[in-house]
Amino acid sequence: MNVGAWEAIILVVRRELCLSFRRPDQLLQPLVFFLIVTTLFPLGLSPQLSLLRDMAPGVLWVAALLSSLLSLDSLFKSDADDGTLEQLALCGQGLTVIVVAKTFAHWLVTGAALVLVSPVVGTALGIPGTAFATMMLSLGLGTLTLSWLGAIGAGLTVGLKRGNVLLSLIVLPLAMPLLIFGAGATDRAISGSSVAGALYFLAALCVFTCTLAPFAATVALRITLE
C-alpha cells in the first residue's frame, strides 16, 4: 500500500493517541506530578497569595518543564524496546516523518494536556484570570518547543539503560531560554504590561525548533538504532 507522508503522520498520530488513551494512568501521571510539584511551593514558601503571585510564573514554568521532561523518557522507549521503532524506520516513509508524528502526538497528550490544567494551578497560585490567556499561550508554545528539544534528547538516550537522568541533564540547559521568556511573559501579563515581545520570541523559538529539531532527532535515533 502506498501512503503519502501526511497520511503516514496522521496514522502514526492516531496510533500513538490510541495507545495513550488505552493506558489512562500513564496519561494522568505527568499531570498529577505537575499538580503535586506546584503544591510543594506554597507549603515550602508561604500560603500568602500576594507572595505566591510574585513566584507563580516561575513555579508554574519550572513545574511544567519538569513534568514534560518526566514523560519524555517514554517517547521512543517502549517502541524501541519491542522493535516497533525499527519497523517504522523501515516502512519506507523516512524516519523524520515518524519522528514528527510521534513527537507531535506526545505533545498532544502531555504538553497540550498541561496547558488545559494550568488555569487550575494558576488560580491556586493567585494568578489573576486576565493573565490566563498569556499563560496558556506561552505554556503551549513552550511545551511544544520542549517536546522537540526533548525528542533530540530522547533519541540520543533511547539505547541507554538508565538514560532518564542523563536526558534531563542534556535537555534542561537547552530549555533555559524557554523558561526565561515563558515565565517572563506570564509575569508581564500579571503586572499588566505588554507581553507581545516575549510571546513573539517564544513563537520564534518554537518555529525555529520545529524546523530543525526533527532532523537532529532523526540523526540521534539513527545513531542509537543502527
Binding site: 533530540i152 540520543l156 538516550t157 539505547g159 541507554l160 538514560g163 542523563l166 541533564l169 542534556i170 534542561l172 540547559p173 537547552l174 533555559m176 531560554p177 526565561i180 521568556f181 517572563g184 520570541f201 523559538l205 530543525l212 537532529a216 540523526v219 540521534a220 545513531i223 542509537t224
Partner: protein, 244 residues
C-alpha cells in the same frame, strides 16, 4: 596538494603531529603568558574606578573566551567526525571537552572572585555569569553522554550531535539571558576601532589571550595523544610507538 588533509584522518600521523607540535605551543604559550602577566600585573596602570582589582581580567577574560572557542572546536571537530566519519575528529572533540569545561570553571571562579570586591557578592545572577554556567552544564551533558554508551563509537557520534545542537543554542541562550537581567560591564575589547581600554592595559590582555590559546593548543595535543593511544590500543603501530 590535498594529501596533508587526508593524512589528518590517519591516527599515527595525528599522534606524531600532536607530539611534534606540543613543545612549540607550550613554549610560545609560556613566553606570551609571561609577558602578559608581568606587563598586566606589574606595569599596567590601575583602573580609575576598580583600582587594582581589575587585574583579574587578565585571567578571567581569556578563560571566558577560551571556554567558548573550545566548545566550538569540540562541536566542529565532532561534526567532522559525524559527517565524514573521520574517527580523529571525534578524538579531537573528546580531547577538547574537558579542557573547555575547565576553562569555563576557571572563568566562573575568577568571575565570582572579581564580583566580590566589585559587586559586593561572590555570585550575582548576572547574564554573562549565568550563560557561562549554562555553558558548563552543556559541557557536562556532552561529556556524560559520551561516556554513557558502552560502544565508544556510538558515544562519540551521540556526543557530536549534542555538541552541534548546543552550538546552535549557545547564542540563543546567551542573548535570552542578556535580555533577562544585566549587571555585567559591557564589552571592552571587541569594540572595533576604539576599545575602551588604553594600550598599556590592552596589549597584556591580548598577549594573555594568545598565550591561553597556545596553552589550550598544547594541552589539546597532550590529551589528543592520550585519546589516540586509547582508541587505537589494538593497533600494531601503537605497540611500536610505545616500545620505541
Amino acid at each position: 596538494m590535498w594529501t596533508w588533509f587526508y593524512k589528518l584522518a590517519s591516527p599515527p600521523y595525528v599522534y606524531a603531529a600532536a607530539a611534534a607540535l606540543m613543545p612549540w605551543f607550550l613554549g610560545l604559550a609560556g613566553v606570551s603568558i609571561a609577558y602578559g602577566l608581568v606587563a598586566g600585573l606589574g606595569f599596567a596602570p590601575p583602573d580609575y574606578q576598580q583600582g587594582d582589582a581589575f587585574r583579574i581580567i587578565y585571567v578571567h577574560a581569556p578563560s571566558a573566551w577560551l571556554s567558548l572557542s573550545a566548545y566550538s572546536t569540540m562541536a566542529v571537530t565532532g561534526a567532522i567526525g559525524l559527517i565524514w566519519r573521520i574517527k580523529m575528529g571525534h578524538a579531537v572533540a573528546a580531547a577538547s571537552a574537558p579542557i573547555g569545561a575547565s576553562f569555563t570553571l576557571l572563568a566562573l571562579v575568577t568571575g565570582s572572585l572579581w564580583g566580590r570586591p566589585m559587586w559586593g557578592t561572590f555570585w550575582a545572577w548576572d547574564p554573562r555569569l549565568t550563560s557561562e554556567l549554562i555553558l558548563l552544564f552543556l559541557y557536562v551533558g556532552v561529556m556524560s553522554l559520551r561516556s554513557a554508551f558502552e560502544d565508544p563509537a556510538r558515544g562519540d557520534r551521540a556526543a557530536a550531535l549534542l555538541g552541534i545542537v548546543g552550538l546552535v543554542n549557545v547564542p540563543i541562550i546567551h542573548y535570552s539571558v542578556l535580555w533577562w537581567n544585566s549587571l555585567h560591564q559591557g564589552a571592552t575589547v571587541a569594540k572595533l576601532g576604539k576599545p575602551s581600554m588604553p594600550g598599556s592595559m590592552l596589549w597584556p590582555l591580548l598577549s594573555m589571550l594568545l598565550g591561553f590559546m597556545l596553552f589550550y593548543g598544547a594541552v589539546l595535543c597532550i590529551r589528543l595523544q592520550g585519546e589516540v593511544l586509547n582508541r587505537e590500543r589494538q593497533a600494531k603501530w601503537v605497540r611500536e610507538a610505545i616500545q620505541s
